[in-house]
């Protein structure tokens, strides 16, 4: 028997506004974005906050969409799915994504995340411009700009974790914090 109350209670305690587990399709992203936009309207968020959260959401979700395939040759079906959650705690939004990744791809991703985390605001701006202007566009779309853009827009470090499942795959969690912009 599924313990629905346990899931409910957990989500309630963590202030989860929206949560989804499953295959990430283009249509799903459209729906999630619309739901979150409506929610933020209903919560009467500042336009500035709404825009920031929306922008970061788009990048996080499209990262999942483009990269969750990376582990499909691991264990087949179960790896086609990812988890996505958005929570609001003490006025700041937390966007959490989780997906399987092949162990052999961890090193490359970790290096990129650490690179972005090591940069200051001005360095991120320069790095963004140089990747935009010189970087090759990957077939998947982003060309490596997504993480840089998220770090730039949020002004926060990218918080991540790799949990080893077996000798083939790990579970990659990314937590992005979007704080309310200071009202001047």
């Amino acid at each position: 028997m599924i313990d629905a109350f346990n899931i409910y209670d957990n989500m309630d305690r963590n202030n989860i506004l929206l949560s989804f587990k499953g295959d990430i399709t283009s249509e799903l992203l459209t729906s999630i974005l619309q739901i979150m936009e409506n929610k933020m309207d209903n919560m009467q968020e500042e336009p500035k906050t709404k825009k920031k959260v929306y922008n970061v959401l788009v990048e996080c979700l499209q990262n999942l969409y483009h990269h969750m395939d990376d582990a499909t040759d691991g264990n087949g079906d179960k790896n086609r799915s990812a988890i996505f959650m958005i929570a609001k705690n003490n006025g700041s939004y937390n966007i959490i994504t989780g997906n399987y990744i092949l162990n052999e791809n961890i090193h490359g991703l970790k290096t990129r995340l650490d690179e972005v985390n090591a940069l200051s605001k001005d360095q991120l701006k320069d790095y963004y411009k140089s990747v935009l202007n010189n970087g090759e566009m990957s077939l998947k779309g982003g060309g490596g700009l997504g993480m840089i853009d998220i770090a730039r827009k949020t002004g926060e470090k990218l918080d991540y974790n790799f949990l080893e499942i077996d000798n083939k795959v790990s579970f990659f969690t990314l937590i992005i914090k979007v704080t309310q912009p200071q009202l001047i």
């Binding site: 283009s26 992203l29 459209t30 974005l33 619309q34 336009p47 500035k48 825009k51 920031k52 929306y54 922008n55 788009v58 990048e59 499209q62 969409y65 483009h66 701006k125 963004y128 411009k129 935009l132 202007n133 970087g135 566009m137 779309g141 982003g142 060309g143 700009l145 997504g146 840089i148 853009d149 827009k153």
Partner: protein, 126 residues
């Protein structure tokens, strides 16, 4: 082909390119998963236009949101405009941003730093 127009969707912008008048407008949201596919026809239309461009070309960009995948494609569009500018049509890019949208203003300034075409930053009310 005197006009090139695309209706906007929740994920893609409204594009209108009046070739007779030399006016290109891109408005709305640009957050498609596959932006190369979306922008290719516009890049092709600009290619054609470059061989018979008007003395002046005005470009109005008024985006509410755009994703990083679109940002590369928008740069490609601007690079075509830079070539058209060099080719003798006086190009101006009017980059619109909402009053308190610093991220959008900064994005415009990023392009301004890369592209050798006159940019105007135009503030609009929310």
């Amino acid at each position: 082909m005197e006009k090139y127009a695309i209706e906007g969707t929740p994920k893609t912008p409204t594009i209108s390119f009046d070739i007779q008048a030399g006016v290109l407008e891109i408005k709305g949201r640009s957050i498609p998963e596959n932006s190369i596919e979306f922008y290719k026809p516009l890049v092709d239309a600009l290619d054609k236009y470059s061989s018979a461009s008007k003395p002046t070309t005005t470009v109005n960009i008024q985006l509410e949101y755009f994703n990083t995948s679109s940002s590369k494609c928008i740069l490609d569009v601007f690079k075509k405009l830079e070539a058209i500018h060099k080719g003798g049509s006086a190009v101006t890019i009017n980059w619109h941003y909402e009053e308190d949208d610093e991220d959008m203003l900064e994005a415009g300034e990023d392009y301004q730093a890369i592209i050798n075409v006159p940019f105007k930053m135009v503030q609009v009310a929310e």
